[in-house]
Each structure stands twice: as structure tokens, then as C-alpha cells.
């Protein structure tokens, strides 16, 4: 009681304070109501005047963080009881699991939507840290909010240590910080992070914290999309529960994925006079395993998504509104576009010219300062003038220019295939990329103008095989996975062996699909001298005795033409001698085990997700000198399974010539766990075959 008396409770401000906050260019902030404003100065109600040049922003209606107690409270009896209960729970629950990084004892969330569209999410987490690496990620609280719309408040943050220590929240150590965007191409501003590092977090400690996040100024009152994941990758979850409370009369739609076993996805529903609550709870959930090339969290973990509306119309209407505004070409952009395509005779030629222009001439920079620029992008005319933009901006400019050319096009919202599959049974805004679709020559063509290296109509591999939002056409569309030959690598080798076992190897390489763009990107991004070093290194990987003679990189900077590579190198003593036997391998053919790590496990829980289909096509033409006698060539192999095929054969052609060919194809992007064993067997057999050698006898060598 005495201790409680010294806690100073400061004034609790209302959630929204209407005074304006002026941020000066010096970084200082001042608060007041602006009463007058002209080209030179800004005057506040207290008569203070500031030169306009000094002011960077004026924030209206910014919520002030509620101030809290000035010192840490002494542990209460309730804290002591909570600590004892948490350790009891951890002991009992932990017995069932060994080797875990941590235990999630309670993972609880409570969404509450208010009648004015504002909403809160209260979360409570009780977690035991069992390994050092979790002290950082579980031992601190970082919550970032958009200034003027959201706020985060830490209500409780206790640490219970194994030796009986209890360390309560010290509000004086709660900090805020505005983050810098990590990538050089990203300028995403407008958020502020609330930070708290819990003290005395050790292995064995239990952290017990409660946070309230509030969206008090939503940009759309009906955009309320609660989400909840019930599983953790660091350890098992004892209880994960989520509730969503809405004002009575509001409809609520939801989707639940990956619920384990026969556990019901039906919520427990309770009602009061003013509200209706939907609640889900899962107990004793095993941790998420980590497998190579596994799908993303939401595709494999139990997951809830909710919405106030059932279909996608409102999302379509909102994005159409934004994108329509931003895809109206100015006279200058019209004139420029028509000039750009003036020599093009077909729609395909026009689309190619525009697609290549937007890729090459508009640099990728993402400037996101609010909802409209974040989701809606910038006006196509502005992007064109700035010569930079993000994926949305580039997609809008491409759509606009295609429109000028008379080609019907639409921006597309997409979640790339390295992210979760969008669950289209429930509306949401979980997209990470934007591309374009156009109707060209009677074809439905997807174009991704974000990169710099994709020859029309190629797109990046991460766009393949996902359902997307076709905005202007108000439909869910699908980006197909190309056939193996449409996304292939084609290798042609001429190998001339000398009587002494040396080899002269000429190699030509060409590509299709995203593979061509990926390689063009790599070779365009490095220096000429570094290209040469890359070829020198490739030759050395064929044999340590290899010496590069020549190489060519064709059209790295020109996306109008196919990207191809060629190289020539010599290798002394390429064929390995074992007495009079010469042992010879096909260059670049072996699939090292490290390249198929996705099949390294005896069993898999989750699907394998590749980015794209695969096509590899090899032709080796080997010229042999007279003293070479073919002893043994690898036997012909034809393998196939549900997902792909592998064919390889070597045969004597005309005199002194051996020709080997191999084709490896996979048409699918995702391998289901049920098919894993068969697929693993197929890949292992194919990879083992690539280790096979060619055996010759050197008739000029006499063995005693």
C-alpha cells in the first residue's frame, strides 16, 4: 500500500486529441491549432508564427499515447500466483515435449469492433524460454502502428525467473522509435514502434505480457479483417484462442484452414445485449516443423481469417476506384506512348514495346506514405515523370500505356508463390505484389513490369501458379505455370577429346521463360570482368585443370533479344586414368546431392513448393581419337513419375563419336506430401544416374 502510494498516475489523455502536431524539419515537434497559413508562414492560436519552410508535416487528430505509471510496480499477490501457475503449467506441459526452444503456454487474442468502425486487439502471451536464441525474440515487445490511425499500449509485461524472481513492467523503459525501411529501394514511412525489452530474461524464464493495439481511425469503417495463427515454430502451444466481438447486427464471415485432425472449426458464439462474440480455441498443438522448400506459415498452420462482408465486391470496388483515378493518361503520356509504338504493326508488338519500356525505364523504388500510395500506388503520369515506382506504380503505368495503345489491360493484385496462397473464400488485403493482365491478340497475357530483365511475354518465376485479383475485370484469375519447355535451359556441348585425354569443350546455352530473365538479371548486374570470372569459375567446376579460352554473354542489356551464353575451354587430362582405363564424366551434368535438399528427409510433413516448373535439356556430342575404345557407356534410363520425367542415353554415333542426350522435366510446382516417397525415389534415381561415368580403354597404353 505504501509502495502503491508513491506511484504517480499521470493524466490519461483521451484517445484522440484534436490539437495539431507540427513536425519541424529539425525533427522537433510542437502542438497547437493552426489559425492562419500563407505561402510564407504558419500561425498558431497562441500567436506563435513559424516559417512554412521550417515545417515538414502537420498531423491532425493524432492520438497521444496514454501515459502510464512512472515506475515498475512491486509484484502483487496476483503476479506471484500467476508465476506459480505458469511454472506449474510449463512443468506439466513440457513433459510431453523434448528438445523444444520454448513453450507457448497461452496465446490469446481478443478483437473487438466498435460501432464507429474502430477496433482493438488485446493479446496475452505466456511463454517459457528454453533456449538462448529466444531471449531476443520472445523477451521483448515491439509493436509498430501507423501514426494518426493506430496505437499500441503495453498493459503488462512480467518476467518470472526459475529462481523465483518476478520482474514487472517498468513503464519508464517503454520507448518509441520510427523505423527506417530496411531495403534501399523502400521508403515506407508513417509508422512508429512501441518498444519494450523485458529485463532479466533467461533460459527457463517465463514471459507474461498483455498488449492492446487500437485502430482508432480506420480509413474504411468496413475494412475489418481479423487474423489469427494458432501454431508456433519454436515450440508447442498449450492454448491458442481467439475471439472476435462485433456490435450486434453486424454480419461476420470467416475461414479456417489447416485445423488439426477432427477438431471443429465451428466457433463458440455468445451474445450480449449489444454484441456478439465468436471464439475459437485449440489446445496442445505440436510445433511447426522446418522442412526445406516448405509452404509459408498460413498454408500449413491452423489459421483464421475474418471479414465483415462475404464476397470480394467491396475490395474490387475500392481498388477499381483507386486504380481508375490513377490510370488516366495525360496528353503528354498519350503522345509519348503513341510515339513509342508508332512502328508497331500488331498488338503484340505494341505490348512488347510498352512492356520493355516500363521495365527498363522506370526504376524500382517503393515510396509508401499512406493508404492511397500503399495500396493505390501513384498516378501513372506521376510515375512516368519521376521515372521510378513500386510494383503497383509500374503496373498502373503499364496498364495506362497499354490502354493508350488500344489494348485492354488491368492491374492485378497477387501474392507471389513464395508467400501464402490467398484464401479466396474470404475477402482480405494480404497481397504482396502487383502485375498486369492484358488481352493481346486474343490471348490473356500476364505481364510483370517490376523487374528489368523479362523479355515479352516472360514474367518472374514467383508469379507462376497462383490465383490473383484481376481488378478491372472483377474476377479471380489464375497465372498458369509454364510447361517445362517454356521454362527451360537448353545446353549444347561439343567435346573433342585428344589422344592424351585432354578435352576441348564448346558449350552453347539458351533459355526460356523466367529462367531467361533470372540469368539475364545476374549477368546484367555484374561487371564485364566479373562475367569473365564467372565463366572461369564454371570451367573450374567442370575440372580443376580447365582453362577458359573464350566466352560470350549475349543480350544481357537488351531484352528485345534472347539471352544466350557461350563458352569454350580446354582441360588437360580431362579423362581420369586408372591404369589403361579412362573415366570420363559429362560436364555440368551431375546433380549434386546438395542441389536436391528438398528430398533429403525420409518423410515429409508438408508439400515441396518450387517456384516454377523445370526443363533441362542436354545434348553432348563427343569426338573420340583413334586410341579410344568404348568400354562402357551409361545405360539408357527412362524415369517418370506423376510430376516429371528424366530420360538419358549415350550411344555410339558415327565412327569416333558418342552422343549423349538427357531431358529432365517437371511440369508442376507443388509436390503433395502423399506423393513424396515416389517423387524422392524418382529424383534420387535421376541424380544417381547423373554420376555415371563413361569408360574408355586407351589402346596406346600397355599394362604389364
Amino acid at each position: 500500500m505504501k509502495f502503491a502510494a508513491i506511484i504517480i498516475i499521470l493524466t490519461i489523455l483521451p484517445p484522440v486529441c484534436r490539437a495539431e502536431v507540427l513536425t519541424l524539419r529539425s525533427g522537433q515537434e510542437t502542438t497547437g491549432t493552426v489559425t492562419a497559413f500563407d505561402a510564407d508562414s504558419i500561425t498558431l492560436e497562441d500567436g506563435k508564427s513559424l516559417p512554412r519552410q521550417m515545417v515538414s508535416t502537420i498531423q491532425f487528430g493524432q492520438a497521444k499515447p496514454e501515459q502510464q505509471e512512472a515506475a515498475a510496480a512491486r509484484p502483487s499477490d496476483q503476479d506471484k500466483k500467476a508465476a506459480a501457475e505458469a511454472f506449474d503449467m510449463a512443468r506439466n506441459f513440457g513433459k510431453k515435449y523434448s528438445g523444444m526452444n520454448g513453450l507457448v503456454l497461452l496465446d490469446s487474442g481478443d478483437y473487438t469492433l466498435k460501432t464507429d468502425g474502430a477496433w482493438t486487439l488485446k493479446t496475452r502471451e505466456i511463454r517459457q524460454i528454453l533456449k538462448e536464441n529466444l531471449k531476443q525474440s520472445w523477451g521483448q515487445i515491439i509493436r509498430c502502428s501507423e501514426e494518426g490511425r493506430e496505437r499500441a499500449k503495453i498493459i503488462k509485461a512480467n518476467v518470472y525467473t526459475a529462481d523465483g524472481g518476478i520482474y514487472t513492467l517498468d513503464p519508464t523503459r517503454i520507448k518509441t522509435s520510427k523505423p527506417q525501411s530496411a531495403s534501399g529501394d523502400f521508403f515506407v514511412s508513417g509508422s512508429v514502434c512501441t518498444q519494450y525489452a523485458m529485463e532479466n530474461v533467461q533460459v527457463g524464464s517465463i514471459v507474461d505480457y498483455e498488449i492492446e493495439e487500437e485502430t482508432y481511425n480506420p480509413f474504411r469503417k468496413d475494412f475489418f479483417f481479423p487474423v489469427w495463427g494458432f501454431q508456433d515454430s519454436e515450440g508447442p502451444v498449450k492454448v491458442s484462442e481467439i475471439s472476435v466481438t462485433l456490435p450486434k447486427g453486424r454480419e461476420f464471415y470467416y475461414s479456417l484452414r489447416n485445423f488439426p485432425g477432427k477438431r471443429s472449426t465451428e466457433p463458440k458464439i455468445t451474445e450480449s445485449a449489444t454484441a456478439k462474440t465468436y471464439a475459437w480455441r485449440l489446445e496442445n498443438i505440436s510445433p511447426l516443423a522446418n522442412e526445406p522448400m516448405m509452404p509459408s506459415y498460413e498454408d500449413v498452420a491452423p489459421y483464421l481469417r475474418g471479414s465483415l462482408f462475404k464476397d470480394w465486391d467491396r475490395i474490387f470496388d475500392w481498388t477499381i476506384g483507386l486504380y481508375n483515378e490513377r490510370t488516366k493518361p495525360s496528353p503528354e503520356l498519350k503522345e509519348f506512348t503513341l510515339d513509342l509504338i508508332k512502328d508497331c504493326k500488331t498488338d503484340e508488338e505494341k505490348a512488347r514495346a510498352i512492356y520493355h519500356y516500363v521495365q527498363k525505364e522506370i526504376r524500382y523504388i517503393a515510396v509508401k506514405v499512406g493508404v492511397a500510395s500503399g495500396w493505390g500506388g501513384y498516378d501513372a503520369n506521376l510515375t512516368w515523370k519521376r521515372r521510378y515506382g513500386c510494383c503497383v506504380d509500374k503496373s498502373l503505368l503499364l496498364t495506362t500505356m497499354l490502354g493508350v495503345a488500344g489494348i485492354k489491360a488491368s492491374p492485378i493484385l497477387i501474392n507471389t508463390n513464395d508467400q501464402q496462397d490467398i484464401d479466396y473464400t474470404i475477402p482480405q488485403l494480404g497481397f504482396d505484389h502487383s502485375i498486369t493482365v492484358a488481352e493481346i491478340g486474343g490471348k490473356h497475357v500476364f505481364l510483370d513490369s517490376t523487374g528489368y530483365d523479362y523479355r515479352y511475354p516472360e514474367i518472374a518465376g514467383f508469379d507462376y501458379g497462383v490465383h490473383v485479383l484481376n481488378v478491372f475485370n472483377k474476377k479471380i484469375d489464375f497465372v498458369p505455370v509454364p510447361t517445362p519447355v517454356e521454362n527451360g535451359s537448353f545446353y549444347y556441348y561439343d567435346i573433342a577429346m585428344s589422344p592424351t585425354g585432354s578435352a576441348l569443350i564448346s558449350e552453347n546455352m539458351s533459355y526460356s521463360g523466367s529462367r531467361e530473365g533470372e540469368l539475364r538479371d545476374y549477368y546484367r548486374s555484374i561487371k564485364g570482368e566479373e562475367q569473365k570470372r564467372a565463366f572461369q569459375q564454371m570451367a573450374k567446376e567442370v575440372s580443376p585443370a580447365a582453362e577458359l579460352i573464350d566466352y560470350k554473354v549475349n543480350n544481357a542489356e537488351n531484352i528485345n533479344k534472347p539471352f544466350t551464353l557461350a563458352t569454350k575451354y580446354s582441360i588437360t587430362d580431362y579423362a581420369k586414368r586408372a591404369g589403361d582405363i579412362l573415366i570420363f564424366h559429362l560436364p555440368d551434368f551431375e546433380v549434386a546431392a546438395g542441389r536436391i535438399k528438398e528430398i533429403s528427409q525420409a518423410e515429409r510433413i508438408y508439400p515441396i513448393e518450387y517456384m516454377a516448373s523445370l526443363g533441362r535439356y542436354y545434348v553432348y556430342s563427343i569426338s573420340l581419337p583413334e586410341n579410344y575404345e568404348v568400354v562402357l557407356l551409361p545405360e539408357k534410363l527412362e524415369l517418370s513419375d506423376k510430376y516429371g520425367s528424366f530420360t538419358s542415353q549415350c550411344a555410339k554415333a558415327e565412327k569416333g563419336k558418342v552422343v549423349c542426350t538427357a531431358f529432365w522435366e517437371r511440369g508442376e510446382r507443388v509436390i503433395a506430401p502423399a506423393d513424396y516417397k515416389a517423387y524422392k525415389g524418382f529424383l534420387e534415381a535421376a541424380a544417381s544416374h547423373t554420376k555415371k561415368q563413361l569408360f574408355f580403354k586407351d589402346s596406346s597404353v600397355k599394362i604389364n
Binding site: K175, Q180, R387, K527, S543
Partner: protein
Amino acid sequence: MRKLFIFFLSLSTAPSAMADILYLNNGDEINGTVTKLDAAGVSIQTAEKVQVYSKNDILKIQFVKEYTGGKSDPAAEPDIKGLLSNLPKADSYPNDGYINWLTDTRFDIHKDKSYSVTIRNLRSVLRERGKSPASFEVINYLPELEKPEIEYAFSITYSSLTWLNDISVMEGSAFVGYPSYDRSKTMKFAIPNVQIGSALDFSYRIDTRYDPQYPFFSNNAFRFFEPTQISRLTVTVPDGLKLVYKELNMPDNRAFSKKDVAGGTSYTWELLDMPSYKEEPNMPPFFRHTPQVMLSLEDSWAGLRGRFEPLLKGKIAITPEIAAKTNELIKDKTSEVEKIEALYNWVAREIKHQPVGMDLYSYVPKNTGEIFNAKAGNSLDKPFLLYAMLSAAGFKPDFAYIKTKDSLFEASQPNIKQFNFAETIVEAGSKTLFLYPEDNYRYNELPGYLQEASGLRLLGAADRPLLFTNPLFDTALEGTEENNAFTLDKDGNLSGTLTMRLKGNSQADWRELKDYKKEDLDKSMEQYAHNLHPQAVLKRYTLENLSDLSKDVNYSMSVGIKDYAMKAGKYMIFKIPGLNYSASDTGQTERELPMFWYSRSRSLGTITIKLPENFKVYYIPKKIRLVGAGQKYFADYLVRNDTLFFSEELRRESTEIPAADYPQYKGFKEALARYSENWIVLETK
């Protein structure tokens, strides 16, 4: 082409892309010029009309500033005019993305030791890949001490001038994820309207107030990964202060001048026509090889210690909790080494590392009580707590600041800002232990970046040398030792056990696995075994002491590999499992820069393979002994009683190989890789 040029000319007179931005509560953003703001609302002039919004509908107004620096016609200025009239051609620079036409760094040191640095870069874009890096800049600063300001930035493409504005300028913290060390900020910007052939010019200034704990120091490079036409450094020092400078790796043709200016002295260095660096395998860290000038104000190491020693001592608080923990950790230990190890292990493991360098936080550590309570510390604070605990345990340790091997140490520049790490040094019997408490290293190991690193003793006995160099550990303390035993059956299937003992930096790499939960570790080990061969199957494994810093990590696994050996008629061929040396780092015929590694290494291996009864050895490779460029390799095959014995030892004794010795290294690696390509051939009896 002509039409395109006319188009760009027209752009220069088109309305600017710059505008104020009104952010509305409904998410809309209105671009225009704010013309009126009062109690009634806000008026904004857009391209089409004046729009008026109630304050209740507005979230924020952003006033967008263009960074013109008061320039009205920059194209008329001599430097830019010179560049524009003679724009470099891509063909003349086949390797490069852009050219630094001028890099001009100017320091102005003031009488109170505060200083300003103004950095100007004038560039021209040669290729597409040069667009982004040429137009992008990041400025790091400590807000309490330093104030950055962009003076101007623009691009000129053909005749179109575009100024940088606030839209692509951003300030923020890079360390939000480390609240206790979230102090430094970055400002970054990207200049708009950049194309191939664009000329870019920007200048920014950082004013730094004097703080004796954050004194003037700068290390200035003159050659980069893009070419530079003129690289210039100017320092103006007022009378009464003395500049100490050191040129490192500077070529003989550098120009240097020193002249009197009003109230002081001005020093200028200039280098012309510096080509770009190209990536080479195992190239040294940038500041070990680039031409550079190191700058500081006159001081002495003793003076520096004199100022910092009391500051550091003031931060040492042996709180009751620290004392109790220290006593608890050493109470059952009898020898000095055991006590030191126990304290080291606790700090290494229990104090979580915060990866924020002292240059980005503070050169003075936090109070030891604060570090202890937070159970968190950076590369200065962790060793500082260890120093305090060792002292509390009765030892007489030294505490030193260290400059990692990533850059060159210069003894003639007494300045705290030369250092970026810290360590505690303690004598235990005849041993001197250099302790950097990192949770993957044992007490008697040291990360490679700290080996051979230079240090300054700031606490401890005054009779020891202030400056010292950390040891470079012997190969016996680094590397791996493998003992593998296999059986090959008549069908070519291989099975057996691999065991490995680890030391030093190799051991530290394996300890990273301690962060995996059991299930994930199992899967990783399956993957590790599978790397041997596409058909390899892990049968079982043990991985001991990953989290126990008091013991070495031991690893063993049993594997089976179906069809490991290939059959060809009466022959069966195979290679030693796991023996696969590459020469891919020796593709170049010659090198410009030395080859560099942080530490020495050694790998020892003995392998036995029990051969199938119905086969005899037809061919085994001869033994080999290779020596060259600080590397040694020995290997031998032997067959006895139907068992093949293979033994090898590979040592890297040098951590830096001069470019002149590269041919020796190349010869060594090629011979080594070729040796590992050899087949063992069996023949049916």
C-alpha cells in the same frame, strides 16, 4: 532519336512532379499546393482545381521541399558543365554501372573541436545497373551529436533537370528491434528521374558537436567499386589544433598539398582516374586494401587512456546481484582457469548479444548493473560485464578496445573511434586468455575477426603495454578431425560411421545448430548426410555439447548409401566419401588483390573402407604431398587385409596470400582438386 531528345527538352519546362500532399482519413492522398489553412479547413490547389477539406477529414499535411540548395541553374556550374559537355561513354568503361566524376569530401574543424563534413558526389550513369546505386545514399548519424542536412540533389537527363524532394527522403532508426541500443538514425534518399546518361549531383553536410567521448576521426577511401575521375579530400584545421594524418595504400601519384588559410591550415589529397574494384574470391575486406587517408586530431594513447579509464571505472558497479552470481559461478571451481571459464560461459550464454556497434551507440559502456539486469549487451558491454565479474572474483584482468581485422589499425592515430569491439584479457597461470564472450565460442577460442586484431588497454595494470595485438591461433586450435569407417559390399552399397571433433572457428559454426529445436535438428542432420550422395540415408547421429561451452562439440553419424560404387563390367569404381576439393576460386589467371581469410585452419581425416571379399584393388591413387602459398596437403592410400586406408591433412597456415603468390596458390588448389577427382578401381578376383 531526335524526337526523343525534343521530348526530354519539353519535360524540362513541364510542371514539377513535386507537390504538397494532403492525407485524408479515408485513405486518399491529394497532391497539390496547400494555399489556405484555418479553422474552417484546408484548401489545396491541384492540377485541375482548388479543393477544400474540413480538418475533421484530414489525417496529415506533408509540405514537400525540393533540395535545390538555392541553385537556379546548376547546369551552368563549371563542374557540371564539364561533365555534361563530355559525358562518359559506357564503351569506355566496359565494367562499370556509373562513374564518380567527382567525389569531394571536405572537413572543417572548428576551434572547439566540433566539426562539419560536406560530401559531394557528381556522377554519371553508364548502364542500367548503375541507376539505383548512383542515385541512392545513406547517412548514419547519432541524433544527439550529429545533424545531417541534404544541401542539394538533382539529376540532369539530357536537358531535363529534376530536384530531389521529400518524397524520396526518409529518416528512421535501423535498430528498432533492439530497444536498449536504439540510438543511431539513418537518413536515406533516392534522386528521381535517373536514366542511362543521366548526370547526378548531390551534397550533404553533417555537423558534429564536440564530445570528448566521440572525437573527430575519419577514414577516407579513394577507390571504390565504381571508377572515380577525381577523388578529393580536404581538411581545414584552425590554428591551435594539430591534424594527425596517415596515408595507407595510397599510390605514389597522389597529389597532396598543405597551405595556410585564414585562421588555420588546409590539407588536400587528390587522386585521379581510379578504376573500379572487381569482385575476386576471398578478397580482403574493403578497408584493408583501398587507398585511404586516416584523420584525427593530435592526442596520445596515454592521454586517451587517462580520459577513458575514469569513465569506464565509473560504469563498474558490482551490485549485490553481480557479486552473488559471480560467487555462485565460481564456488565449486578450484583452478583459476575453471573460474575464468565459468564466468566466461555465463556471460557468453546468458547476456544476449545486441548487434549494434559502439560507433552506432556509444564508446562508453553501460553501467554493469544495467547490463546484468537487462541480460543484454553489445560488443562493448558483454566483455565489460565479464571484466567486472572477473574483477569481483579476485582476478586482475585488463579491459581493452579492439579493432577487428576488417580494417587497418594505425598506431599513429590515437583515437577511440579506431575501435569497434572490446575484450577482457586475463592471466591464468602461464596462459594469457583473450576473452570475447560470444555464445558460439569457448573461453580459449577467438573469432577470426579478432585474431591478429590490434587493441588498446584501457583498464588494468598500468605497467602493461597500452597497445597490443591479439594472437593468431595455431592450426592445432582451429579446424576439424574426422575418423570415418565404412564397409563396401559386393553390390557397391556403402555403410559406415563418420565421427568428427571440432575446434575453434569450425566448432563455432557447428554450435549455431544449438538454436534448432530437436525435430529441426534431426531434419538438418538428414540433410547433412544426404549431401554425401543422392542415395545417402542417415541411420542415426549424435551431436554432443552444442549448448555446453565447457566442452568441445563432437559429432558422429551412421549412414548407408545404396549404389555408392559404380560397376562397369568386372570393375567397380568409387571415390573416398566426402573427398571433393574444388579449385573454383582459382579460375582467374592472375589477381589484383591478395587472398584473405580471418583465421588459419586444419582438417585431419582418416578413413577406412572394408572392401568386398570378391574384389581386389585394381587401382588406387598414389600418395601426394603439396606445399604452396602457406598451404599444405598430405594424403595417402594404403590397402591391407582387404581394407582401404586413406589419411589426409590440409592446413592453411597463412591468412593472407599476396597477389604475387597467387600462381602458387592456384597451382596448389588445382593439384589438390585434381587429386580428389581420382577414382579407386576394384576388379573382381
